[in-house]
């Protein structure tokens, strides 16, 4: 149900953060909000998944511990975290971006009419 993807992205976003440097709290909260957004988008498919529910509780705990507001900017370093998985255009855009190209996906047309 893609919860593992949310977690992997969160780890990727935070693994390079150092609590000793300025701005750590802000960046960590951004990553948490992105993680929360990602879990929300998977909520339907993951409704019976214990890992998902653990992640939701864990995010809530971490946000409380770090005094993160629920609203605010989210990390955008990794397009996979912020893209809408149900929007093919953003999906394809991210994929193309990673491939080093910005060309849009190519589309095909089919039509049927008349006799």
């Amino acid at each position: 149900c893609r919860i593992q993807k949310c977690t992997t992205d969160f780890v990727a976003l935070t693994s390079h953060l150092n609590s000793a440097i300025d701005g750590f709290d802000s960046e960590f909260c951004k990553a948490l909000r992105a993680y929360a957004g990602c879990t929300q988008r998977t909520s339907k498919a993951c409704r019976g998944n214990l890992v998902y529910h653990s992640a939701v509780l864990g995010i809530s705990d971490l946000m409380s511990q770090r005094n993160c507001s629920k609203d605010g900017p989210t990390s955008s370093a990794n397009p996979e975290v912020t893209h809408d998985p149900c929007n093919y255009h953003s999906h394809a855009g991210a994929r193309e971006h990673r491939g080093g190209e910005h060309s849009p996906p190519s589309y095909l047309f089919c039509g049927l009419f008349g006799d």
Partner: protein, 257 residues
């Protein structure tokens, strides 16, 4: 009906009965075609079934079905969208009540137009190439992908219906009931709606001569409008007879311009 495939091949087919247009991992589209006039093998579409397959967290499987005089603005389960209420990754939009609906499947970047003109239905689809080509070997019967089988073609094998006008038209008693289009009057009628004399224009002429039903003029016109709305490459909107490189199955001479 007249078919424009994913490869921009243009064909006029018999394909009577139920045939799959698309059958890949994301979408299935099936049409049912019935004869339009006695004595002719020409058929037109009176039923369209579209299955949007379940996709991760984006949508459950949704089925849309339209038949002549029943073009609903909802899926068969009564809903008008798929996915969560907020995201609406799949939506039906009614443009003209009972006559024209659009389906927008955001999660697969796909748009489908279904129209009813006269007694028959038309269909237009835009889909990402990567998804359209995602199918198993066993799913090889897809008219949008491979075109119609040669045995089901009405055109001369080169997409050209005008060349066989006068040879394949039915000569039955029902002819007298038609408004009596001649090639000249059909040309004039179609030219009023379609100033560019491309394959859509020629299809219009063919349909008028075959059936005498002026609704097919509107169908050809709106089919061209659908191309202009959905086909990604403007230089390919019109298809003209001539020396071209886009002939189906290595035969014929249609070019896009």
């Amino acid at each position: 009906p007249h078919l424009r495939t994913f490869k921009d091949h243009f064909q006029t087919c018999k394909v009577e009965g139920a045939w799959p247009l698309i059958d890949n991992n994301y979408l299935s589209v099936q049409v049912t075609n019935v004869p339009v006039v006695p004595g002719s093998s020409a058929t037109a579409t009176n039923k369209i079934t579209i299955i949007f397959k379940a996709h991760h967290e984006c949508t459950d499987q949704k089925v849309y079905q339209a038949v002549t005089d029943d073009l609903p603005a909802a899926f068969v389960d009564g809903t008008t969208s798929g996915g969560d209420g907020d995201t609406k990754s799949l939506q039906i939009v009614e443009r003209e009540s009972g006559r024209y609906v659009e389906m927008h499947a955001r999660y697969i970047g796909t748009t489908v137009f279904v129209r009813q003109l006269g007694h028959y239905l038309t269909l237009a689809i835009r889909m990402p190439e990567a998804l359209a080509m995602a199918y198993e070997e066993s799913q090889d019967l897809q008219l949008c992908v491979n075109g119609c089988p040669l045995s089901e073609r009405i055109d001369d094998g080169q997409g050209q219906v005008s060349a066989i006008l006068g040879h394949s038209l039915p000569r039955t008693s029902s002819v007298q009931a038609w408004p009596g289009y001649t090639l000249a009057t059909a040309n004039t009628r179609c030219h009023e709606k379609m100033p560019v004399k491309d394959i859509y224009f020629q299809s219009c002429v063919f349909d008028l001569l075959t059936t005498g039903d002026a609704n097919f003029t509107a169908a050809a016109r709106s089919a061209l409008e659908d191309v202009e709305a959905l086909h990604p490459r403007k230089e390919r909107w019109h298809i003209f007879p001539g020396s071209g490189s886009r002939a189906p199955r290595g035969r014929g001479a249609w070019s896009v311009s």
